[in-house]
Amino acid sequence: MEDESQDAVEALYRTQGERIWRAVMAYTQDPDLASDAVAEAFAQALVRGSAIRSPARWVWRTAFRIAAGMLQERSRSVRLAGTESYLMRDLGGELLTGLARLPAKQRAALVLFYYADYPVRQIAEILRSNPIAVRVNLSRGRNRLRRILEEKHA
């Protein structure tokens, strides 16, 4: 039973690990933080084994919640000189640059909806929110992101 659950987690890492990391990275705008959150979520899934019914949903939810906690923690500390977001320069994507200008909740909703393909109800579960709030964040985030991206092309 434990072996089966470990196999399921390993299979999840192989098939969705990169996708989860990219989603968390787009949400947090920080590759290091994304790596920490995703690694912690998978490690906890491995240890919990068969206690987890749906590893995929559990890991997605846990990675985002851990990342949210880390973001909150980081907002109380000062970043070191020279480490500020190289992401924008090096990953260079307009989308990531645009997402960076949105509030975290809107960013999370957009990433889970457009990139992870989660329906609103599950996004609400992942973000410990409710479907109405998620819809509001999606709508506002979508409008704002479109404006930001259009500004760049204007």
């Binding site: 690990g17 990275m25 590759p31």
Partner: protein, 386 residues
């Protein structure tokens, strides 16, 4: 403008770091905490248990053979045996733990890895004016921290990025100094020289760690500001970048690109390389004492694993933990006297011993164990010396 769904698909082009080692290391720590109590109880029993007789050994072996015969997945329970041909094993033993035997094995050298396919290197070496430098990538795995710098070819011509630059920075005293580097490569290598087409990126990786020395020394860091990179073929790239070295010091790779990842070979079914290993360590051990712990080998495959020929294993403890420190590594033969086969789903717990040198530095140190086969298995953990 493409719709948002299409825009988000672009995220798939973002390169993802390798996380497996970090996951395994973290899971090992979590599991260790979970099993701490179990391990402590096992060792308590180990100390209290009266010696077992050969008759009991035979009875247990017979029971195991019977269990094998009916195809039941079992946890093996063996007692020690003693005989003139074998070194004397640990004097007392708890049920379910195979005795440790002091039977040294030759040091193990894994078969050489195939050399990574080189990148094209026909262009002229990059000059400082052709490159820009920025921070990243960074990461952490198995106690190693990666602090990297990205070099982008901002010129219209392809150039060769490679070799070892001289890197200087301003230290805490305000003086520009060459970065003090320990010999060796980072945990995150290897890096190969490569031609960079216009717009392409190469890397210079530094490795560090934050768990060297003892006590408060482990928290010590050194910061170097305003890094300058003197390229091997001349020219200097100046930057306002900062590098922080942990208590383990710094190691640096050459300039270049990460070697392509080779596929990991799969061990043949039925071989010890298919086993999983888990170590249960005590929380601490004193210098000069014997570290007693257990290793569990678990067969999660549907095929029995034969321990014939009997494999050896290596146990390693970094008792002077630093990149330049002394690593104690010893190889022994596994106790295969009674356990010849691990059936599908079965597991065997082995007692292990390692003498900690009396001059060992106190503090948290890394420990690792592996079966001496090209495929492992490997297990590790941390133990406090002191």
């Amino acid at each position: 403008m493409p719709d948002l769904k299409e825009r988000f698909k672009g995220l798939d082009e973002v390169r993802v770091p390798e996380l497996q080692r970090a996951i395994q290391a973290r899971a090992s720590i979590l599991q260790r905490a979970e099993y701490q109590t179990t391990a402590a109880e096992a060792w308590e029993r180990y100390e209290r248990r009266p010696r077992m007789t050969t008759r009991l050994t035979q009875a247990l072996a017979a029971a195991t053979i019977l269990a094998l015969g009916v195809g039941v997945a079992v946890i093996f329970h063996y007692a020690r045996t003693s005989g003139p041909a074998h070194p004397r094993p640990t004097p007392s033993l708890a049920p379910g733990i195979v005795a440790w035997v002091n039977r040294p094995a030759p040091a193990y050298s894994p078969p050489p890895q195939p050399s990574p396919t080189p990148y094209p290197t026909s262009a002229a070496p990059c000059l400082a004016g052709q490159l820009s430098v920025s921070a990243g990538p960074s990461g952490a795995a198995a106690g190693n921290d990666l602090e990297g710098f990205t070099f982008t070819n901002v010129s219209p011509t392809t150039c060769l990025l490679g070799g070892r630059p001289r890197v200087t920075g301003i230290n805490a005293a305000g003086r520009r100094v060459a970065l003090p580097l320990n010999p060796g490569q980072t945990f995150f290598g290897p890096v190969l020289p490569a031609d960079l087409v216009p717009g392409a990126k190469g890397f210079l990786n530094f490795g560090t760690g934050y768990a060297c020395g003892s006590g408060a020394d482990q928290q010590a860091t050194s910061q170097y500001r305003g890094l300058w990179f003197d390229l091997p073929r001349g020219g200097r790239l100046q930057s306002s970048l900062t590098l922080i070295a942990g208590s383990c010091g710094l190691v640096m790779d050459d300039l270049g690109l990460h070697a392509p990842v080779s596929p990991v070979p799969t061990p043949a079914p039925g071989t010890p390389g298919t086993l999983d290993a888990h170590v249960d360590l005590p929380q601490s051990v004193r210098p000069g004492q014997t570290l007693r712990y257990t290793v569990t080998l678990h067969n999660s495959t549907p095929v029995p694993v034969e321990l014939n020929p009997c494999p050896s294993y290596s146990q390693m403890v970094d008792y002077r933990p630093s990149y330049s420190g002394t690593l104690r590594a010893e190889a022994f033969w596994l106790n295969c006297d009674q356990v010849k086969v691990i059936p599908p789903g079965g597991q065997v717990v082995y007692a292990m011993e390692l003498r900690v040198p009396s001059d060992a530095t106190t503090g948290l140190t890394k420990y690792s164990w592996e079966l001496n086969t090209p495929d492992g298995p490997y297990a590790g953990g941390a133990v406090t010396i002191g």
